[in-house]
Amino acid sequence: MAIVHVIDDDAPLRNALERLLSAAGYEVRTYLAAGDYLVAPPPLARPACLLLDLQLPGVSGLELQAALSRHPGHDHPVVFISGTADVRSSVQAMRAGASHFLTKPIDGDRLLAAIKDAVDLDMTLHERHAREHQLQQALRSLTPRERQVLDGVCAGRLHKQMAAELGVSERTIKSDRARIMRALGVTALPDLMKLLVTPRPQPGSRP
């Protein structure tokens, strides 16, 4: 079950949002202030998103959003809600990577659609991170020669050339390549290229 972290200092609204999101099937955790959210222990391996009020006492909604990249366990997509239709803040929020920006009073359907998008995004990013982690581990497990073979394959070198450079037989090169492909979880060269050449997301970044 996905978690929605609701951060709003207005108690009646916070309670109402909790009821609405619970009824829609989410687990809801509520906080009065940005600080409360950051000190709470983050539950692991559950898709989550933040429903964040722009105007918070102390640390503002925007400030919290900016701080998330420094708190990997708490870094999830943000849906902003605001009582003022302030163009400057909304632009700033979206530029900083907010998933959605909604103004109060919020229509229930719109809110649930935005939350669904944010949670889906969280799952996508999580998968991407997991794959990236896997890839890094696999690369680290390669021997130095296997690394060289991998670089050669990516550069389009022929087996014969690599065999000559590395002082091994062509058959050795071929079996190295098969082992590398297995370790990296690909079956064809194009997939290998895609895996290694696409820009890899850094932790905390957004598409």
Partner: protein, 312 residues
């Protein structure tokens, strides 16, 4: 005037003799003067009433301008309960679609909707008195309750500007005689000015303190202090001059209206620099403390709007 020669001496008869024949012209002249005076008095009363009316309208215009400055936070204060009501209503729709709708949750939800509605209502109620066109009243006013209400009115705006607005009332009750709306306008003005003065101050240091203190001379002292840019080189007297303002887009009427309101309430207003930076505005008003009977100016007539009283 006829001069009669008496048969025994040649002295002429006195002009102020009470003989009926000489009375009417005098009486006529007297009557004419009386009528003229009465007409003049009536005209003066009319002019005074008109001036009073215009002053009232100016005070009202100034009030509306004040509330205009608060409009962003007022809208926010009404939007919040509306947002809670809508979210609760949408939650109720979802809950009712469940096979076994949780009636306890729904009951609480409905109670919350009513509470939110009341909250929005309170905001509008607070504003209505300030916005409507009305005659100046003379009633007993619970000053501490008035100040508390004013602070409530400004709470959202203070939050918006990240200002710490602190109200420290003195002990006991304080009663003043006068017009509640005008008094509230006066304090609204001073408090908003205090917040405005701190626009350039670091958020951590933005503090406005509102305190009351019962003096021994039958007056209550209300102080508004801020940690803003201070009076600078402006002499305190110029602050109250009509149309003087340091605010971009300011009308400059707030303080001169404030002073007029205080004059009408037999009170006074002073501005002075604050120790450690900023400004302190001190309001003095005749008051009654607790249940002691009124003494001095309070027992006298109500706010006199007919003329500007000199500052005490």
């Amino acid at each position: 005037m006829r001069i009669r020669l008496s048969p025994t001496n040649h002295r002429p008869a006195s002009a102020t003799s009470s003989r009926p024949a000489c009375k009417w012209p005098v009486l006529a002249a007297f009557a004419a003067v009386l009528l003229a005076l009465r007409a003049q008095h009536r005209a003066l009363r009319q002019r005074r009433a008109q001036a009073r009316c215009e002053r009232n309208e100016l005070a009202r215009a100034s009030r509306i301008a004040l509330l205009g400055e608060l409009s962003a936070s007022i809208v926010h204060e009404i939007r919040q309960p509306l947002a809670a009501i809508l979210a609760n209503a949408d939650a109720a729709s979802l809950l009712l679609a469940q096979p076994a709708p949780p009636t306890d949750v729904l009951r609480q939800l409905i109670a919350d909707i009513r509470a939110s509605n009341q909250r929005a209502n309170d905001v509008m109620h607070r504003l209505r008195a300030l916005l409507e066109r009305r005659e100046v009243q003379c009633l007993e006013v619970d000053l501490l309750a008035l100040l508390d209400d004013t602070v409530q009115l400004l709470a959202a705006e203070a939050r918006r500007r990240r200002v710490d607005l602190v109200f420290e009332p003195g002990p006991g009750d304080v009663v003043v005689l006068g017009d509640r709306v005008q008094l509230q306008q006066l304090f609204l003005n001073l408090l908003i000015n205090a917040m405005d003065a701190m626009r350039g101050t670091a958020p951590m240091a933005r503090k406005v303190e509102l305190t009351t203190h019962q003096r021994g001379d039958g007056q209550v002292e209300v102080r508004v202090s801020d940690r803003g840019h201070g009076l600078g080189s402006h002499a305190p007297a110029t602050l109250f001059a009509p149309f003087f303002t340091t605010k971009a887009g300011g009308m400059g009427v707030g303080l001169s209206v404030a002073r007029a309101i205080l004059g009408a309430h037999h009170g006074s207003l002073h501005a002075a620099p604050r120790d450690g930076g900023g400004t302190v505005f001190t309001v003095r008003l005749p008051s009654r403390h607790g249940t002691r009977p009124a003494a001095g100016p309070l027992a006298a007539a109500c706010p006199t709007p007919d003329h500007e009283r000199p500052r005490a």
